[in-house]
């Protein structure tokens, strides 16, 4: 048994510690917002936060998480009120939407670290997240918009 803190809730889990965090979140806990895309940390669809840092859950063994707090898309806000989610809605970013949980988790980690990111900051932070629908222009615009929204709530 191991204990995992996910979205603020401690969970006792009977899983092989070598199991990737992604599959524990999806299949054991039932949080399916985090997606599988490549299994090799190449596409970013599985991005979650560990103590606020973005990680690829598809290559993160659950046994290595320890006491770090896991945040998934479901835990980002209870009501789509996170500035990144608000900006994503405002600019209608998603198309198929499959990669967007990962995009949003990478973007929210970037903004937590760098509240006013430059385009170069966005390139560096987001280049690991693939979107086959090509929503990148809107993601970039929405990150800038989320920075404004975040600034409004933190005067």
């Amino acid at each position: 048994m191991l204990t995992l803190n996910v979205n603020g809730v401690d969970r006792s889990l009977d899983v092989d510690p070598a199991t990737p965090l992604l599959w524990v979140l999806r299949d054991t806990i039932g949080l399916t917002g985090t997606k599988y895309g490549c299994g090799m940390a190449l596409c970013g669809a599985c991005t979650v936060h560990l103590d606020g840092q973005p990680v690829r859950s598809c290559i993160t063994q659950v046994g290595t998480v320890g006491t770090a707090k896991v945040t998934t898309i479901e835990g980002l806000s209870p009501d789509r009120s996170h500035p990144v989610q608000r900006a994503w809605i405002e600019l209608d970013v998603p198309q198929c939407g499959y990669c967007q949980s990962g995009q949003i988790m990478s973007a929210s980690a970037l903004l937590a670290q760098t509240p006013r990111p430059t385009d170069a900051d966005i390139d560096a932070a987001m280049a690991g997240n693939i979107c086959r629908c090509g929503t990148y222009q809107r993601i970039r615009a929405a990150i800038h918009r989320a920075a404004e929204l975040g600034g409004e709530t933190q005067p």
Binding site: C38, V93, Q95, T135
Partner: protein, 718 residues
């Protein structure tokens, strides 16, 4: 196919499909009223009334639209309800959307099946769904008018209510039961465009909220009580077969419940997908790869070149191109070739099936509910009517999910275990077992007279038929696959002698529909070669095209807009070079201007300006998003996309060796929609096809090198 206009050509293609009904049964153009007056069973509403196949109204005044096309990012979840709601008289934002089951009412009249593809959804729905919405509205008005003892024509509707001449109001929910019992009016008047409240206006996508909080359910997210998970061992070589399977180690792995031999591989079924995958990797399988041992890139290209020596099936003929080329004062000839491509949808192929004694439920991200139902029924040993198809959101489609090859194994695994089973492919499974965009080998020739006029143009296409594979029997011997000659047979330039012909040639692997299908193959050839001809004639590529498009106002207008917006009349910045492409596809007219530089022998794409006329727009935001999307899809393919085969094995396997565009590689994309009151054109696909020729024409401007094969990465530009 004698008319040179793209519009006429597109109609010809539709006519072909209508008459051949591509495999999936007849056309259902009339509104299905089978459900009329039968209460539905939607939970949460005490009574639900169905006035036609797309609409359910609850007595609680809830309104639900059944979306009969699959949402894969292109926006039908929003667009189709907008079209329907306009005539129903309800704000689309207050209508709930559900995906429709498989059913005859939902056949796409442009494709002959319940299919989401070919950028047809809005074109097919345009009259059909407005008519259905208007019929429902008239029924509701009539029912309300009877309550008030007045005439329906004296009543009007406003956002879900019928209003009497004296200002009394009844909600749709209040009169829905009575409305459903009335005869459907045959003739209903549709609103003129000037009266549209929602069509053509900026409106939010209705699926966005569920796609920013993780709640949207894709195929991979389906969860059923008692469900098991499966991973599939498929042959590592194309067409391979398992000679022997030792599953002892797999069966001993934690969580593994069963190992099932399916028609597409060995499925390991377990309590979680990770356990299933670990079990799969523990299988010891001896494969027989003899069927494709000799299959490789070189053999595929040699086969295409040999087949190209044959004369082709004529797709378009005007005048005598062969004779005119012989008589021409100057002839330019070229050969082009295109590689295999994978779709690489972000969501790998997945299907959840639950087979019971006399029923089967499949939960699947599919672009073709009818075919999904048929293959699931065959795998379950049931009749199609016993199979219920539940369509989820699609994590990308791009044509990949027009194939149903990933469905039977899930059904077979469920049948064998007696449990619901979710069978998910790995990314590696997905790249190595795709139905690939076909390769092509094409020869093209143009002839000038003594005065420098282009008098002959001949395009000789060679490649496999996708339609013949996906819909066996749909392309009769000697007939052209309409999905092989797009952006070729509708060659728009004013040339008196034109010949387009096509040699079908199978290449030994499964080919599939890939975003914009043969447009992406043929536009690369036709528009690259237009530049070759322009330069041979000593003309500017834009001026050369404009002169030959004098009789094609829709083409010419989008070209002019793209030229103006790109600043084409002024020199590009130092080190920057421009290239043009023009095309009609899916009834949409489009021009692109790409701006590039060459850095360290590699192309850097800085900017793509796209002008388009897609007729009436439904949702302008989605139109622009689809253009951006299609351009980046085309950019990945143009720069890096190729699938290589050696010894029958696909060489690429994941995003490290099947490279796609990332955030830091995105050029500035500017989209200009030219207003037009023509009926809607398709927008999900066309922009994909113009990217490669526009970029390669710019590369020629920069380097004087003509790239006659893709991807660009094959070529050293230093």
């Amino acid at each position: 196919m004698s008319a040179p206009g793209g519009h006429q050509e597109a109609l010809s293609r539709r006519d072909f499909l209508k008459t051949s009904a591509v495999g999936l049964g007849g056309l259902v153009l009339a509104i299905d009223l089978a459900g009329c007056s039968k209460p539905g069973s939607r939970p949460g509403a005490t009574s639900v009334v169905t006035t036609n196949a797309w609409l359910r109204i609850g007595t609680d005044n809830s309104i639900t639209f059944l979306c009969d096309r699959s949402e894969m990012g292109q926006g039908v979840y929003t667009g189709l309800v907008t079209i329907f709601a306009e005539e129903l008289g309800v704000d689309p934002a207050r209508i709930a959307v559900e995906f429709a089951p498989a059913g005859p009412a939902y056949v796409n009249a442009l494709l002959g099946g319940q299919i989401t593809g070919g950028s047809t959804s809005v074109r097919d729905a345009w009259t059909r769904l407005r008519t259905a919405g208007a019929q429902a509205r008239e029924l509701l008005k009539t029912a309300a008018a009877r309550e008030w003892d007045t005439s329906a024509s004296a009543c009007r509707v406003e956002n879900g209510e019928v209003i009497s001449p004296f200002g009394k109001r009844l909600s749709y929910g209040a009169v829905a039961t009575a409305a459903a019992a009335l005869p459907v009016p045959a003739d209903v008047a549709l609103k003129p465009a000037t009266a549209f409240q929602w069509i053509g206006r900026e409106g939010r996508r209705l699926d966005t909220p569920a796609k920013v909080d993780g709640s949207a359910i894709y195929g991979i997210d389906v969860t059923l009580p008692g469900m098991l998970y499966a991973a599939l061992a498929q042959p590592p070589m194309l067409g391979g077969k398992a000679k022997s399977v030792d599953d002892a180690a797999a069966r001993a792995m934690p969580g593994v419940r069963d190992v099932v031999t399916t028609t597409s591989g060995i499925a390991v079924v377990a309590d979680s997908w990770w356990q299933a995958r670990q079990g799969r990797d523990a299988l010891r399988i001896e494969w027989d790869g003899s069927a494709s041992a000799g299959l490789n890139d070189g053999a595929i290209l040699r086969g295409l070149r040999q087949a190209a020596a044959k004369s082709g099936i004529v797709a378009r003929k005007e005048g005598d191109a062969e004779g005119a080329l012989k008589a021409a004062a100057r002839v330019v000839r070229a050969e082009y070739e295109l590689p295999l491509l994978a779709h690489a949808t972000m969501e790998p192929q997945v299907c959840t099936a639950h087979v019971q004694a006399s029923s089967c439920d499949v939960y699947v991200p599919t672009q073709t509910q009818g075919a999904a139902q048929a293959v699931a029924a065959a795998a379950a040993g049931l009749e199609p009517a016993q199979v219920k198809v539940h369509t989820t959101f699609l994590g990308g489609g791009f044509g990949r999910r027009l194939d149903v090859d990933f469905i039977p194994a899930a059904v077979e695994a469920s049948k064998a275990t007696g449990k619901p089973v979710k069978l998910l492919w790995t990314r590696e499974d997905d790249i190595t077992h795709d139905t690939y965009r076909p390769p092509a080998y094409d020869t093209v020739a143009g002839g000038f007279d003594r005065d420098g006029n282009l008098v002959a143009w001949k395009l000789h296409l060679t490649g496999p038929s996708i339609t013949a594979r996906v819909f066996p029997g749909a392309v009769p011997a000697g007939a052209v696959d309409p999905f092989a000659i797009e952006a070729a047979a509708n060659y728009p330039y004013d040339v008196p002698n034109v010949l387009v012909d096509w040699v079908p040639h199978e290449v030994g692997l499964d080919v599939g529909y890939w975003r914009s299908v043969s447009h992406a193959l043929n536009c690369f050839v036709a528009e690259s070669f237009m530049d070759e001809l322009a330069l041979a004639a000593g003309r500017d590529p834009a001026a050369f095209r404009r002169a030959l498009l004098a009789k094609q106002p829709r083409y010419r207008e989008v070209l002019d807009v793209a030229l103006r917006r790109s600043g084409y009349d002024k020199p590009a910045a130092a080190g920057r070079f421009r290239g043009i492409a023009v095309m009609e596809g899916y009834d949409t007219y489009m021009a692109q201007v790409a701006e590039i530089s060459i850095e360290d022998g590699k192309v850097k794409v800085h900017r793509i300006v796209c002008a388009l006329d897609c007729g009436q727009t439904i949702n302008p935001t989605i139109v622009v998003a689809q253009v951006e999307s299609a351009i980046l899809f085309g950019l990945s393919a143009a720069l890096w996309g190729e699938i290589n085969v050696q010894g029958g094995r696909v060489q690429q396997s994941n995003f490290h060796d099947y490279r796609v565009v990332r955030m830091n590689e995105v050029p500035a994309i500017e989209t200009y929609v030219v207003g037009s009151d023509n009926p809607p054109g398709g927008i999900g696909e066309p922009a994909t096809a113009l990217v490669a020729p526009a970029i390669c024409n710019a590369i020629h401007a920069a380097t004087k090198r003509r790239l006659r094969s893709l991807p660009v990465k094959r070529h050293n530009l230093a």
